[in-house]
């Protein structure tokens, strides 16, 4: 063990402790960020010591998928390490490795589950030699950060062409752009998908014939905001999440878990104890027994799916709090809200209270005006804390909160200060 590496890990651990004590922003990326500056080879060296490594990438669903997979593996007794708090860049992985590192070897860990964003994938995969790679989907996301869909797929293909053919690849067979990747990889690729379902914004695979998928969900029965029922391999499953798009996350986790030898029984019991990731259809217990739901929105496809999921569920006494930020982690370009089908919100004619918040609150209000909402019913309050307290005051129904990423982080601290929930990094993992 060289000195610089030890120093990097120690530095990372110190930063981790400090941020936890001071409660500054979860501290998920900072330890890794600084440790990598000191010792750039950290992820490659520590990461390769773990017996099995799974990498999950895609535009939407990475956190939910890796969380589910960790649950399934955990039920089988497999010890898992992952980058939990959605810091899906190399520094997030470094942080997680440092936090778990005993300076020598990760002999207490069996499986690493790394979620990587569209760009970090190409940097990190060659360094850690994963055993399994999952591609969930590819949509237009933050063009300012990731570039166009064609470019993303091209770069993934290039990375895959250099991956050992013994690696197992699982991809969403309903996404035509992803099927393209098969051409770049010499080894075996397995697909998963959902019968008779279309995700708006996804380039649906045209040529796929029935039975072409290696793993398929059928008999989809959405049931309100809390569960979705469906069948896989003639077995009934109940997902504790609304929205058909989450079934893809489940299928990916199911496929990988099966590959790792997790039994069907353990997958089922893992699913039973699964709770949604922070901000991903997270349920809140507000004051006076009122309920709230948080749906992270970050790109047009995901936001449109969220809207489709909640549109039938909203009642006149409910309220809607939307928060749009334009920080780096949100994407500095807010034009994606114009590609999001706010028009689909089916409650235009009911007298619903809608509060627009965040740094670009005015842009949101304007979008809703052009989606057909009466400007008089739209409240604009840039300060999220003020907006949140106004939203819960006198609430008779439920509160639906749709924040972008940094607005979600802010919201978490508002919720913690209000005693509604714990800081997310203190949550049980």
């Amino acid at each position: 063990m060289n000195l610089k590496k030890t120093a990097a890990i120690t530095l990372g651990k110190t930063i981790h402790k400090t941020t936890q004590v001071l409660k500054i922003g979860g501290g998920s990326a900072a330890p890794g960020y600084y440790a990598l500056k000191l010792y750039p080879n950290l992820v490659a060296e520590l990461g390769r010591q773990i017996p099995k490594t799974v990498v999950i990438t895609g535009t939407n669903g990475k956190t939910t998928t890796s969380r589910m997979l960790a649950q399934f593996a955990g039920a089988q007794g497999i010890k898992v390490i992952r980058n939990e708090t959605g810091s899906n860049l190399e520094r997030g992985i470094a942080s997680s490795l440092i936090h778990n590192s005993k300076f020598i070897i990760h002999n207490s860990v069996d499986l690493a589950i790394w979620e990587l964003d569209e760009a970090a994938f190409n940097i990190v995969v060659p360094k850690i030699n994963p055993d399994i790679i999952v591609f969930l989907n590819v949509f237009r996301d933050q063009l300012d950060r990731y570039g166009e869909v064609d470019t993303i797929v091209k770069k993934w293909g290039k990375t895959l062409s250099q991956v050992n053919p013994s690696v197992k690849i699982f991809l969403n067979g309903d996404d035509e752009n992803l099927l393209e990747l098969q051409k770049s990889f010499k080894g075996e690729v397995k697909t998963f998908g959902v019968t008779d379902y279309k995700i708006a914004g996804e380039k649906r695979a045209q040529l796929r014939k029935k039975n072409d998928l290696d793993l398929e969900a059928t008999n989809i029965q959405p049931q309100g905001l809390d569960i979705t029922k469906f069948k896989v391999k003639n077995q009934n499953f109940t997902l504790p999440l609304p929205g058909t798009y989450h079934i893809y996350d489940f299928l990916a986790a199911f496929a990988v878990a099966s590959e790792l030898g997790v039994s069907l029984g353990n997958i089922k019991s893992g699913l039973e104890s699964f709770s949604p990731a922070f901000g991903r259809v997270e349920k809140l217990n507000l004051k006076d027994n009122k309920e709230g739901y948080i749906f992270l929105i970050k790109n047009p496809t995901g936001a449109t799916q969220v809207i489709r999921t909640i549109q039938d569920q909203i009642k006149p006494e409910d309220r809607l709090l939307l928060a749009l930020n334009d920080n780096l982690a949100d994407g500095t370009d807010v034009s994606w809200i114009w590609d999001t089908n706010f028009e689909d919100l089916g409650f235009r004619n009911i007298d619903l209270r809608i509060i627009c918040s965040g740094i670009r609150a005015e842009d949101l209000a304007l979008r809703l005006k052009y989606a057909g909402f009466d400007p008089k019913t739209l409240e604009t309050e840039k300060d999220l804390q003020v907006a949140f307290h106004a939203s819960v005051k006198g609430l008779e129904g439920r509160l639906f909160i749709l924040p972008t990423y940094t607005a979600l982080l802010k919201l978490q601290s508002i919720l913690a200060k209000s005693g509604i929930k714990q800081y997310y990094w203190k949550e049980e993992k």
Binding site: L143, D326, R360, E362, L366, R367
Partner: protein, 258 residues
């Protein structure tokens, strides 16, 4: 009254949130009792004089852009669009659409892609990615006169347009070409000469996404007014709308970025 909005290559050139422009034109016409028909025009479709009262052309991915460039030439649609613009039919082209309507596009390698030649401008590929919020001051005297109200002193920057740019192509205006405006914050046409966009007759080419028209309603109304005037052959005065939210969003964006 009725107008037909021609959405050029909406299936291929639609990735940057530019659909907000179509939504804005449609709503602002409908709120005034003007009927709107949206016509999607794509590869293989025919187009003739008088079919469309306003053209909209958005940005797309590189691959799509090549396909579209080819179709504009082969189908003859490029020629019709140019003739219609010369006749005064308004047009809004953003980013990729703007580039394709210039003289040509010079990629890093290979031959020039010929453009439609509507805007007296040409574009060269570069290795600089020009990304970020952009504020410009409207330049064209003709356009300014149409927008007296925009001089209103309550605006932080009078005569400003605000949007978001994301391009690596650098566009250069030829002698005598009129830019849409001067860059206050951002890169504009090429990041070198402070010019942004191009205006020719009633056709506007620009790098501004955002979407552009929702936060710049005066430009939207100018396009609508021109469309009706060309179609009905008389001067049109559009009914004013309550633009409180539009102006707030405009102001918020300008104050954040300039």
């Amino acid at each position: 009254m009725k107008i037909t909005l021609g959405y050029l290559y909406s299936d291929l050139m639609n990735i940057y949130g530019d659909t907000g422009n179509i939504i804005t034109l449609t709503k602002r016409a409908q709120w005034r009792g003007i009927e709107v028909e949206i016509r999607h025009i794509s590869v293989g479709d025919k187009l003739k004089k008088g079919d469309v009262d306003i053209f909209f052309f958005g940005g797309g991915q590189d691959q799509a852009q090549e396909l579209v460039a080819k179709d504009l030439g082969q189908s003859g649609k490029g020629k019709v669009i140019k003739e219609e613009a010369e006749r005064g039919v308004p047009l809004l082209a953003i980013c990729g659409g703007y580039q394709l309507l210039g003289d040509y596009y010079q990629p890093h390698e290979g031959p020039k892609l010929p453009g439609v030649g509507l805007f007296p401008a040409y574009t060269k590929a570069s290795f600089d990615r020009m990304i970020g919020n952009i504020v410009i001051r409207i330049q064209s005297a003709e356009f300014r006169m149409q927008n007296e109200e925009i001089h209103n002193s309550k605006f932080l920057i009078p005569n400003s347009l605000v949007g978001f740019e994301n391009h690596s192509g650098k566009t250069y205006l030829k002698d005598g070409a009129k830019p849409l405006g001067t860059v206050v914050k951002g890169h504009g046409n090429n990041g070198e000469d402070k010019s942004e966009g191009c205006i020719h007759k009633n056709a506007v080419g620009t790098y501004m996404h955002g979407s552009l028209l929702p936060k710049n309603p005066k430009l939207a109304d100018w396009l609508l007014k021109k469309a009706l005037e060309v179609k009905y052959g008389k001067e049109i005065k559009l009914e004013p709308l309550d633009d409180t939210l539009e102006n707030q969003a405009h102001q918020a964006a300008v104050s954040r970025f300039s």
